[in-house]
């Protein structure tokens, strides 16, 4: 059980693929113009990660060391193609917007990275959790960045949700500022870099604070222990 908690914590925070490993930046920066795109690409990436992790770990004893990379790439690209076809048949409008970035999930190093670093050494259930958590961690960053850029760039949130959730989605769309002219910088690629930089900085700040706090606690405990020990 401890293992699962550790895997979850790694995926969501300690080894977050977007914030710590800084992998998969190409789709991360390109499609995070708004929340809907971010959710869609995050979900597709997570699905591929879980599938590839599970498959790789099931066959990890059969896959010989020499040909493991071509086989991983083969598996990942097959899953991506399947996702692309499914998206084209069920979410066609969304597929038109995401366009080239769906097939480009293949090039997201995070997926190959998890296959190599985790799934090829661990059981299928742990690999599944790892894939899921790494995917969710990545998606959360996508969505936060998408929300920041959409709010600052367009003054809306969940715009065009109907592409993802059908008619239910139309009521989700929020206009934050009426008659907002938009801030071009946030929509263009530099806005994505600046936004990602701010999120990484925030994460590091939180890490430093919690590290300080815990060392302070252990320091106080030592002091207390010493003072009790000494007369």
């Amino acid at each position: 059980m401890d293992d699962y908690i550790k895997i979850t914590r790694n995926g969501l925070w300690n080894n977050n693929q977007a914030l710590v490993a800084l992998l998969g930046l190409c789709p991360l920066l390109a499609v995070t113009n708004n929340i809907v795109n971010a959710i869609a690409l995050g979900a597709a990436t997570t699905f591929v990660l879980v599938c590839s992790n599970v498959t790789v770990s099931i066959f990890r004893k059969q896959i010989s060391k020499e040909v493991r990379i071509p086989i991983f790439v083969l598996l990942i690209s097959s899953f991506v193609t399947i996702v692309e076809l499914l998206m084209q048949s069920f979410f066609y409008d969304l597929y038109l917007i995401l366009g080239i970035f769906v097939p480009l999930i293949v090039t997201n190093c995070a997926i190959l990275g998890r296959a190599e670093a985790f799934a090829s050494k661990n059981s299928w259930d742990k690999s599944a959790i790892d894939g899921l958590m790494m995917g969710v961690g990545f998606s959360v960053v996508l969505v936060i960045l998408g929300a920041m850029r959409e709010a600052i760039g367009n003054g809306t949130l969940f715009d065009q949700s109907s592409l993802l959730f059908g008619s239910v989605g139309e009521s989700l769309s929020i206009t934050l500022f009426e008659n907002y002219q938009g801030t071009l910088l946030a929509v263009l690629p530099p806005g994505a870099f600046i936004g990602l930089g701010l999120i990484v900085a925030l994460k590091n700040l939180i890490d430093v604070r919690t590290a300080d706090a815990s060392s302070l606690v252990s320091h106080n405990e030592n002091v207390a222990a010493n003072s009790v020990g000494s007369p």
């Binding site: 193609t81 076809l85 084209q88 048949s89």
Partner: protein, 197 residues
């Protein structure tokens, strides 16, 4: 003598490739009808924004033609809209090469009386927030072309306002609206000077 591990690795690759191909082609087979249907629906929706009242199967009547328009040779797709077997409008898919960021793919509807039914952007790479107002999702600017012709406004007025013409341009983006105005004018010009079928 080939070493044993190499043969094993080869067999492994063949097995994985075959299984992957099976799953991908199975998915493709299952989804292809739906994907085709989606593509056709999108096209019908786009055509329907520009023309209504046709009673022919407009997708089946489509034909392609090699023409020289916008200064380049290109193959354009033309959809004739007919009523009682008489064509009353053509919808033409064409590419205008001089957008701010290259090609703009357009769908332009022209009536047989040489008036514009309207113009829609299919794909473009114009700057988000500036040039992309030609997209109906961002603004209604492009809807003003419906009903215009070579005499309305006069040919000398088929320009954006900053060039002395009749069309508004966007703040911070002149090249993109200029491209659409020019492209529309050239289509009208082409249709008035050539037999289409």
């Amino acid at each position: 003598m080939i070493q044993r591990p190499i043969i094993n690795a080869g067999i492994l690759l063949v097995v994985f490739t075959s299984v992957s191909i099976f799953f991908v082609s199975f998915t493709q087979d299952q989804t292809k009808d739906q994907i085709r249907y989606n593509e056709e629906q999108l096209l019908i929706k786009r055509l329907g924004e520009l023309v209504d009242g046709y009673d022919n199967k407009i997708l089946d009547d489509k034909f392609s033609k090699n023409i020289n328009i916008h200064g380049v040779d290109q193959e354009v797709n033309i959809y004739p809209a007919k009523s009682n077997n008489k064509t009353f409008a053509y919808l033409v898919e064409h590419t205008y090469p001089n957008g701010y960021n290259g090609n703009i793919r357009l769908l332009t509807g022209v009536g047989t009386d040489n008036t514009l039914l309207g113009v829609r952007v299919i794909t473009h790479k114009e700057t988000p927030g500036l040039g992309d107002k030609i997209d109906t999702r961002k603004s209604s600017w492009i809807e003003q072309f419906a009903g215009l012709s070579l005499s309305n406004p006069l040919p000398s007025q088929w320009k954006v306002k900053s060039d002395g013409g009749a069309f508004d341009s966007f703040t911070g983006a002149t090249i993109t609206p200029r491209a659409i105005v020019t492209a529309s004018y050239q289509v009208l010009e082409y249709f008035s000077q050539h037999e289409i079928e």
